[in-house]
């Protein structure tokens, strides 16, 4: 099957600055695809290229097999939901939503029917006659979504659609967005800096850094198998140990970490040689922490002192200082209901993890 959206060696320069730097990417039809990155990484520029607000400096971009170069924004089969919602302040909700349909020259009766249907979908029917300034942030967000969806575009672009909502509302809206995407089957391309949002909503994620993709994959691939330090560090928290390849076996490898004077074991990765500089990464929730020495076979075991602990209700996070001075972050689920913490600051603790939980990163 041919990909629905194709970026083929796409670059966008603003003066000397490469906002998007030779990016290639395929997005399939019906995907919920997220572009995730910090501010200034080029994710919004990429979205604006899709919408037709930015021209390419080089490369090609195709939607449904059609080269989009030279096709202005108003003739592209995409609609965008803006971060600021961009609702027309001088039109009421119904007129805002009908605006796109009017541009297509639809019959008034047809427009009314479709506006009514989409208002129903986003549960805003009773607000049809309100002006945007009379709506709350969450309501405005729904109208903006309805306005972009009502034209039944081939692709819906979402630019940080939930950034302006408070946390509770954001979570509810995330479920609704996922629902609407499944119902309509439209390809969604979402730009966000919020990794939880991207993880929860997306079928695939592209992690972006300095105008390039650091990694593209499903949420679990990106979280569990980061391919480089940027992705590992950007998504969630992670502990990194710098070292060199000490030994290579068929399934496992050993990394010597001079800073803590230990050799750590992890699953082997291809294309490395003994002595190569690598980095061993382990996520905080995959580490156990205890005051007694664990009696597990084959696990990596380290000792240290708790210097900090954070209580988040559902989890507790500990920062453990190893004898070398390096810090390791450990998080545990608070399964037992108790206000007494078993592990306190300044406790001497053992931390250990299964060797298969660690990941070795080359770059």
């Amino acid at each position: 099957m041919k990909p629905f959206i194709q970026f083929d060696d796409v670059s966008k320069h603003f003066g000397d600055f490469a906002a998007v730097d030779r990016v290639s990417l395929d997005i399939e039809e019906g995907e919920f695809f997220s572009i995730l990155g910090g501010s200034g990484c080029g994710k919004t520029t990429l979205l604006r290229i899709l919408a037709g607000f930015e021209e390419l400096s080089s490369g090609r971009m195709l939607i449904d097999g059609e080269d989009m170069s030279g096709i202005p924004a108003h003739r592209r089969p995409v609609n965008m939901m803006f971060q600021s919602y961009a609702l027309f302040p001088h039109m009421n909700v119904a007129k805002n939503i009908a605006y796109g349909l009017k541009q297509d020259g639809l019959e008034p009766a047809d427009i009314d029917a479709r506006v009514t249907r989409i208002l129903d979908l986003v549960q805003m029917s009773e607000f049809a006659q309100r002006k945007p300034r009379q709506l709350s942030g969450g309501q405005q967000q729904r109208v903006a979504l309805a306005r972009a969806l009502v034209k039944q575009p081939k692709v819906l672009l979402l630019d940080e659609p939930l950034a302006a909502l408070d946390k509770k509302l954001r979570q509810n809206t995330q479920f609704e967005l996922a629902n609407i995407q499944q119902k309509t089957g439209i390809t969604f391309v979402l730009v966000t800096h919020d990794q939880e949002e991207a993880m929860m909503l997306s079928s695939r994620i592209a992690v972006m850094n300095r105008g390039q993709f650091s990694q593209v994959g499903t949420p679990s691939e990106i979280y569990e198998n980061p391919q480089n330090r940027f992705t590992a560090d950007f998504i969630g928290s992670i502990n990194l140990f710098e070292g060199n390849v000490a030994a290579l076996a068929e399934t496992m490898m050993t990394v010597s970490v001079p800073a803590i004077d230990e050799c750590l074991t992890a699953p082997a990765i291809p294309d490395v040689n003994i002595g190569d500089p690598v980095c061993l990464a382990i996520r905080p929730e995959k580490i156990w922490i205890s005051r007694q020495a664990p009696d597990t076979e084959g696990n990596t075991i380290l000792t240290g002192e708790v210097v900090d602990q954070g209580y988040f209700g559902n989890l507790s996070v500990y920062r453990v200082r190893l004898p070398s001075g390096d810090m390791v972050q450990v998080s545990t689920q608070n399964r037992v209901r108790s206000t007494e913490r078993a592990i306190q600051r300044e406790d001497e603790v053992f931390i250990h993890w299964e060797c298969t939980s660690a990941v070795v990163l080359k770059e």
Binding site: A73, R75, S84, F88, P89, Y99
Partner: protein, 272 residues
């Protein structure tokens, strides 16, 4: 609290400085005496004379006509210029253009008036239009300097307004002309209205430029008042000034009231 009397004094002094000249004009317009230096009791005779003065009526009508026509054209041209400056993609020399549009704002009026006069004379000689100087040349001159003010207002409004509204319209399938008519211009209406009012006032006020480019018979109100005052202050001019002050004060109060009512209505609606 020790500072308070000082501040109050400053305030009173400041306002006195601003308003005593205006109030003295108003007071003397009700003076029964023909002499400015002598108070001859309360009278409305100068108002009566004013209404019987054909020249003043004609000058007033001409001023209003010139102000309305020049404000309208200045708004059209100024809006175009403001739109172009705010919305055109960055091009070489854009800053220069931005600065050039505000130059007429700081140009001494004498120079603007003189250069327009030279231009009109040359045009008449080589193109045969405008024939002679009068209301037409004053109107053109007023359009020239007041469009710069409109352009600045429109440009400032557009700069403050997020461009994403226009992008959203475009994204929804609106062609550039529809975007302009459906989104940009309706949102610009308040700025254009403000520009029109400013242009109207500037034209209505203007003496210097008008006197350069006027011809025989075309006396705007400021020109007429100035020429009368040169012969000695006639008390009916005081009456005229008082009426203009009253109209301006009424207009300002009305617009302020309208704005407040609108704001209050919006507030009520947001609270449901």
């Amino acid at each position: 609290m020790k500072k308070l009397p000082f501040l109050v004094c400053v305030l009173i002094f400041g306002y006195a400085f601003l308003y005593i000249p205006i109030f003295s004009v108003i007071a003397y317009s009700f003076n029964d005496s023909t002499l400015m230096s002598h108070w001859g009791g309360f009278s409305l005779r100068w108002y009566q004379e004013l209404f019987n003065d054909r020249q003043i009526r004609e000058a007033l009508l001409l001023s209003i006509q010139i102000a309305a026509v020049s404000a309208t054209f200045a708004t059209l041209l100024g809006t175009c210029a403001g739109l172009a400056l705010a919305r055109l993609r960055k091009f070489r020399g854009r800053r220069l253009f931005s600065m050039m549009i505000v130059a007429p704002l700081v140009m001494p009026e004498v120079i603007t008036g003189l250069s327009l006069l030279v231009l009109f004379i040359a045009l008449e000689k080589f193109a045969g239009w405008p024939a002679g100087r009068g209301a037409t040349t004053i109107t053109i001159a007023h359009i020239t300097f007041s469009m710069a003010f409109v352009a600045v207002i429109v440009q400032a409004r557009l700069a403050g307004q997020d461009q994403c509204l226009e992008e959203a319209a475009q994204d929804l399938g609106a062609r550039p002309l529809s975007v302009l008519l459906d989104i940009t211009l309706p949102l610009l209406t308040p700025a254009m209205l403000a520009g029109w009012l400013l242009a109207f006032t500037l034209s209505f006020d203007d003496l210097v430029i008008s006197s350069f480019v006027t011809g025989p018979g075309a006396n705007t109100l400021p020109i007429y008042i100035y020429s009368q005052v040169k012969l000695g202050v006639q008390p009916d001019i005081n009456a005229l000034a008082t009426m203009i002050i009253a109209i301006v004060a009424l207009g300002v109060t009305l617009s302020a009231w309208l704005i407040r009512v609108r704001e209050r209505r919006i507030e009520c609606q947001t609270r449901y």
